[in-house]
């Protein structure tokens, strides 16, 4: 294990963490403000990637395709909120889980019908396709660095939006006491619809940005959704700061576990036992982390005020 390899994997972990944050942010926003548990958030991530496939193919450009895909995701989010999610406000979490699971089945199948089951690729934008030398012997792809930067930018923007603007103030007030905000003359349905669509767009942004480095396929949202749940459970449901810290933690532990756990186990186990146990333990590592954190803090690291 060299220092260079370690640093590369740290960056990869950071990049996974950023993707997770973009997905978890929308998930926790919708849950925290609207009290809706939205399993379909994972397919919104997947949809973002597929919309990006079509938008880049249509426009022939990554930079024109991205806003187009995001706008389409926003519109679909608004549509979904109007058709289904709106009926679920104030209902049992079980109802929300089942209805959004129905949406998953529908959207996944629709995607298979429109784009087929075979994995697709989004071409890497020309300007970002090289790699950059960070230090001696450490080259890192530019695109991944841009992804990290864009994610951090969105995180900063979200922070300003939530803490410094009128919309953010309404949002925080809505999370604390929606009926009161409504009584003060704010159109709470319109506010909720916008928040939901915004969350859908964040997930789609993650999907669209992940497209050039991952393969775009129907099941791609599933694993990320479960990891995003782990993130917000660790961070505390409804807490944006928790989502950020949790996402980076999960991204780093998952990536570092997969790269180094087998080698570390070889120090104490035989080579064959280590190669057998390493991958299994690595895929369990984030869940072990979650269990450990919950054991001490059942409401996560940054519990949102009840």
């Amino acid at each position: 294990m060299t220092l260079t390899l370690f640093l590369v994997q740290m960056l990869n972990g950071l990049q996974l963490g950023i993707l997770l944050f973009l997905v978890a942010a929308g998930l926790t926003l919708v849950f925290g403000v609207m009290d809706v548990i939205n399993l379909a958030h994972g397919v919104q991530y997947m949809l973002g990637a597929y919309l990006m496939v079509t938008a880049t193919a249509l426009t022939g450009s990554f930079w024109l395709g991205l806003p187009l895909a995001l706008a389409a995701a926003l519109v679909l989010g608004l549509l979904l909120e109007r058709l289904v999610i709106r009926q679920l406000y104030g209902r049992d979490h079980l109802d929300q889980v089942l209805a959004t699971f129905g949406i998953i089945l529908f959207v996944s199948e629709a995607v298979r019908m429109v784009w087929g089951s075979a994995p697709l690729a989004i071409p890497m934008p020309e300007a970002l396709s090289g790699s950059v030398r960070l230090m001696d012997g450490l080259n890192y792809p530019v695109y991944r660095l841009v992804l990290i930067g864009a994610g951090l930018g969105v995180a900063g923007l979200l922070y300003v939006l939530v803490t410094r603007t009128r919309a953010g103030m309404l949002l925080r007030a809505g999370a604390t006491n929606a009926p009161m905000v409504s009584a003060l003359g704010v159109d709470i349905n319109a506010l909720f619809a916008r928040i939901f669509a915004f969350g859908a767009m964040l997930a789609a942004f993650a999907g669209a940005m992940a497209g050039p480095i991952l393969s775009v396929e129907p099941g791609m949202g599933d694993n990320l959704l479960i990891l995003a749940f782990v993130v917000i459970v660790i961070g505390g449901i409804g807490s944006m700061r928790g989502a950020f810290v949790g996402a980076l933690l999960v991204g780093l532990i998952d990536t570092l576990g997969r790269s180094f756990l087998t080698d570390i186990l070889k120090l104490v186990l035989s080579a064959s036992a280590a190669s057998a146990a390493g991958p299994a333990l690595a895929s369990m590592s984030v869940y072990v982390l979650m269990a450990a954190i919950l054991f001490f803090r059942p409401r996560g690291l940054f519990p949102a005020p009840a």
């Binding site: 679920l88 109802d95 209805a99 129905g102 949406i103 199948e109 782990v230 869940y287 409401r299």
Partner: protein, 305 residues
């Protein structure tokens, strides 16, 4: 009284299936009954305890893998493999339940989901037992050395008998003092605690029992398909179990049976119509949820009343 009659009618109908069914239909009905067994066990903790477990497929899959792995290692008899399957699933439920049950509500849903995924990934990395591709069983389990389970009709009645037993046990547990404490914890935890009862241990025991029965369902399912794979533990299947329980009405032991039969038969019917059957099933599910108030009163009735 009417509910006992309904139960009798359902089981009589299931018992009559081998008289007219061909092998394909027998397989389909056996699949439905096995899923019903798992759904009944989930219905017990969900309906009686108010615990929405999203990792139920994992316990069923662990039961299936127990049978598959034992067979690979030369242990073929159901009298050994089935109890081991139940114990393995129960043990998983004990460990994960002990942690998950410290939380409530939506946290519980997500944590059981995460533990289910964890089991899913472990089976995926079992390279000695097929890994990603799954494991094909050499044959069905023997019963005390005899190859009874090979015959589809005998298998049908074995599954039916175990399903009836599960329904009976869950219904009896629900009426027992144990079940009443569970229900009290579901309805008003604060009041239960004021009486000096901590629901945690009761919930954990119920969770382990449900896991054990799901393990039994998994052992049967491995025998039906003569194959086990990580897909058996997928969170989609856990969600399907919840759909079965809710569709049938979670407040009686019979509800999940009807729900499971309905869902499996509906899926099979839709799959005959189009390979894209989920595009119809998904919206149906949404409609079911939006109309649920009505269905609940139709099939419900209070399990503990």
């Amino acid at each position: 009284m009417t509910r006992a009659l309904l139960a009798l009618a359902v089981f009589a109908a299931l018992a009559a299936v081998p008289v007219f069914a061909d092998t394909a239909l027998l397989t389909l009905v056996a699949r439905a009954m096995i899923f019903a067994l798992a759904a009944v066990s989930l219905g017990f903790i969900l309906g009686q305890g108010g615990l929405v477990s999203f990792g139920h497929a994992a316990t069923m899959g662990i039961g299936a893998y127990a049978v598959g792995i034992l067979m690979e290692e030369g242990v073929r008899d159901a009298l050994v493999a089935f109890p081991v399957a139940m114990a393995a699933a129960g043990l998983f439920a004990l460990v994960t339940g002990a942690i998950s049950l410290r939380t409530r509500g939506v946290y519980f849903i997500m944590i059981t989901l995460a533990f289910g995924q964890m089991a899913f990934f472990v089976t995926q990395s079992l390279s000695a037992y097929g890994g990603d591709d799954g494991l094909t069983l050499a044959a069905r389990s023997t019963v005390a050395g005899a190859r009874w389970l090979k015959d589809p009709k005998t298998f049908h009645y074995v599954v039916l008998g175990l399903l009836a037993l599960t329904v009976l046990v869950c219904a009896m547990l629900a009426r027992s003092p144990f079940g009443r404490v569970l229900a009290a914890g579901r309805d008003n935890e604060r009041r239960l605690r004021a009486l000096g009862v901590d629901p945690y241990a009761y919930r954990l025991v119920a969770y382990v029992i449900a896991g054990g029965f799901a393990g039994l369902a998994g052992a049967l399912y491995a025998n039906l398909t003569e194959f086990v794979s990580p897909a058996y533990l997928s969170w989609h299947r856990s969600a399907e179990f919840i759909v079965m329980v809710v569709a049938g009405g979670p407040l009686s032991a019979l509800g999940p049976v009807l729900g499971a039969l309905g869902v499996v038969l509906l899926e099979d019917g839709l799959a005959h119509l189009t390979e894209h059957w989920r595009i119809i099933f998904g919206p149906l599910l949404v409609l079911l949820v939006l109309a649920r108030g009505g269905l609940k009163t139709l099939l419900g009735g209070r399990r503990d009343g």
